[in-house]
């Protein structure tokens, strides 16, 4: 049993009511929470700091009517095995009322290795779908008209190649690039910081990101070429404040690169979108989203001179926290995910992925995915939460937390600037070290039971019932390797060689790499071949880890 409430006379540095439990009153990020919040805690300038939904600084939401106008997109991340299995799951999700697609790629695809590469052995189709060439991408979206769906693709280092595949699937369906809607993650900075799936050194990787922003600005007005992601930073163990600060600073770094390229802020800023974690500390998360919108709006207008409101409006996707899920008593995860999803909705998310209760064990089963989707539908249609924008706006507590969240982010911005900006800070392991420290501190709190995770370090249960899990058939790897062989056998080898040579040549110049990547993709060059061609010019990346 948990420790019973005990009266404690005082806590360091502040007076407390005599009836408080002996507990740490702080957020999961360690941010202290006062005994009470009162009117004096709210910001002094309501108009400048809070305002109205849909108006600068967008603290209360990017749109005036929020979910009264349009509910968030329910977007479950899916992908495993070969494209046939994932295509089936896509159809399943669309048939059950999902409104957008989100593709998870396997590790070899994320790292730029073809499925028959030695490094891919045992990893093909395990954590996502394997995509090696345009043939695979065509199979992935078989029977799904791209004109009518918005697609999200979680891929970073090789993002330009996967975008090219997608554009060509659209071309085959008769949908031109300007009609394609969706998001590709492309956020390489957070890869070096947290997610650790890379192909090239930082500078050429940044050049590729900027090439994509530039190309999409000209050719894909409905597409989001970068989804600036805090999700993985948080999953790697950061605090909420670090997630906010590092993510926004990454975003500002992409903005600066695009401006250096000669783009106008108002031509591309509205196409940048964000991706945040929805963790278990309810009010801290809501404050994080509200602070994010305010900081971004201020920076776009005050620092970078944006004039269009669209450029200042931060829009984001949220995913509930994978790390908050427990392998113990997995049904409890349905409750965790519900709370996290509700925080994202009250914080004004534009789209949402809810994790499935069995994900601390393996990839989710169809049943678990259905419960996760139903969780969103219950919030949307039963809870009443979407009835008014920013329902917690004006709460002294939430406004105060929002202010403190913003201040913490600016503190980090200053420290990163002192190091010479985000790229240099990453080279010096600054964000990596901050995250490792936070992750370790949190684990110590669990070990010492200063923080309780139900079913893990308290309220445990012996003889747990086994949960059925999704097994990936090892035969799928062989099947994918066969698909790849068929692609290689069926293409014009001379055309492929010429296209790869051209890509390599362009990589050595300052030319935008999207056109030669599109040409190589059309010739059915594989992802691994294109990455290898670019690596001949760019080199590879190895980190010196800190722990």
């Amino acid at each position: 049993m948990a420790s019973q409430p005990r009266a404690k006379p005082e806590v360091e540095g502040r007076e407390v009511a005599p009836h408080e439990r002996e507990a740490e009153f702080s957020t999961m990020s360690g941010h202290p929470i006062e005994p009470l919040y009162e009117p004096g805690d709210a910001p002094s300038d309501h108009e400048a700091d809070i305002g109205r939904p849909g108006e600068y600084p967008f603290t209360r939401g990017p749109y005036e009517s929020m979910y009264r106008g349009r509910l968030w997109t329910m977007r479950q991340f899916a992908g495993f095995g070969t494209v046939e299995e994932t295509n089936e799951r896509f159809h399943y999700l669309l048939d059950h009322g999902q409104t957008g697609l989100s593709t998870a790629f396997d590790m070899p695809t994320l790292m730029g290795y073809d499925s028959d590469h030695a490094r891919s052995l045992g990893e093909v189709g395990r954590e996502g779908v394997a995509v090696d060439s345009l043939d695979d991408m065509e199979g992935l979206f078989e029977g799904i008209p791209l004109a009518g769906v918005s697609t999200s693709m979680t891929i970073n280092a090789p993002a330009a190649i996967l975008l090219a595949f997608y554009v060509l699937v659209g071309e085959k369906q008769g949908v031109p690039p300007e009609k394609l809607g969706g998001t590709i993650q492309t956020d390489i900075l957070k890869e070096y910081i947290a997610q650790k799936e890379w192909c090239f050194p930082i500078e050429p990787a940044m050049r590729l990101v900027t090439d994509m922003i530039e190309w999409c600005t000209e050719n894909m007005p409905r597409w989001h070429p970068v989804s600036i992601s805090g999700y993985h930073i948080r999953e790697a163990g950061s605090t909420a404040q670090q997630e906010l600060a590092f993510t926004l600073k990454d975003g500002l770094t992409y903005v600066e690169r695009a401006l250096e390229r000669g783009l106008d802020i108002d031509d591309f800023a509205s196409r940048l979108s964000f991706f945040f974690n929805a963790h278990i500390d309810f009010f801290e998360e809501i404050a994080k989203y509200r602070a994010a919108r305010r900081i971004w709006a201020r920076e776009m207008r005050e620092t970078y001179g944006a004039k269009r409101e669209e450029s200042m409006r931060l829009r984001f996707h949220a995913q509930t926290a994978g790390v908050s899920l427990t392998a113990q008593q997995p049904l409890n995860n349905v409750v965790r995910t519900s709370l996290e999803a509700l925080a994202a909705v009250l914080g004004g998310t534009q789209s949402l992925h809810t994790n499935s209760f069995d994900e601390a064990l393996a990839l989710p089963t169809e049943e678990a995915v259905r419960v996760a989707l139903r969780t969103q539908q219950i919030i949307a249609f039963e809870s009443g939460a979407p009835n008014t924008p920013d329902p917690l706006g004006g709460s002294w507590f939430v406004e105060k937390l929002t202010d403190e969240m913003e201040a913490a982010a600016y503190d980090y911005f200053a420290r990163i600037d002192e190091l010479g900006g985000m790229v240099e800070a990453i080279r010096r392991n600054f964000p990596q070290r901050e995250i490792a420290e936070a992750a370790f501190a949190y684990q110590r709190e669990l070990d010492e039971r200063k923080r309780i995770v139900v079913g893990v370090n308290d309220f445990t249960q012996r003889d747990e019932v086994a949960t059925p899990i999704l097994r990936i058939d090892p035969a799928l790897e062989r099947k994918q390797v066969e698909r790849l062989r068929a692609t290689r056998a069926g293409r014009d080898a001379t055309a492929v060689e010429a296209a790869l040579a051209e890509l390599k040549r362009a990589a050595a110049t300052e030319a935008n790499l999207m056109p030669p990547i599109l040409d190589a993709a059309r010739a059915r060059a594989t992802e691994g071949e294109m990455i290898a061609a670019m690596q001949e010019v760019f080199g590879t990346y190895t980190e010196s880890p800190v722990f």
Binding site: Y113, G122, E127, A236, D447, P545
Partner: protein, 141 residues
């Protein structure tokens, strides 16, 4: 216990495969180091060959393999096999990560001493490695 304290326990913490999830590996590496052990963290994206070589070169008492990618049934047997091929049969091999319960017996049969799944405390892991390494030292390896 004399033998156990004569030399610091040496542990290789390794990330096999393409999996970039290093939160757990780094926490364990730090906890082992704080417990007075000598920790060699391989960094990410290691092949089984690279890991076996590190274990041998460092004359490690234990190796902890951290895998969250689902590729454990390919990668772990390969590391164990490579160690055996090189005549190394007394290194304590442990695995941590999202390992389904039904895979654990097979991993243990291969010679894995322990599998730590999500929620395992660092103290439990530190104690396990300390005891296992002490036995190895007593045997005089």
């Amino acid at each position: 216990m004399e033998a156990a304290t004569a030399r610091k326990i040496r542990v290789v913490v390794a990330k096999p495969g393409l999996d970039g999830h290093d939160r757990g590996a780094k926490i364990i590496a730090r906890a082992l180091r704080d417990a007075g052990m000598e920790v060699i963290y391989t960094g990410l994206h290691q092949t089984p060959e690279q890991i076996a070589e590190t274990v041998i070169q460092e004359d490690a008492d234990a190796v902890g393999l951290s895998i969250l990618s689902g590729a454990h049934m390919t990668l772990v047997p390969r590391v164990v096999e490579l160690l055996k091929e090189q005549g190394v049969d007394d290194v304590l091999v442990t695995v941590g990560g999202t390992i389904p319960a039904e895979d654990i017996p097979e991993l243990k049969q291969l010679g894995v001493a322990a599998v730590f799944t999500p929620g395992a405390g660092t103290d439990e892991i530190v104690d396990f490695i300390r005891e296992g390494a002490a036995e190895r030292h007593e045997r005089g390896s």
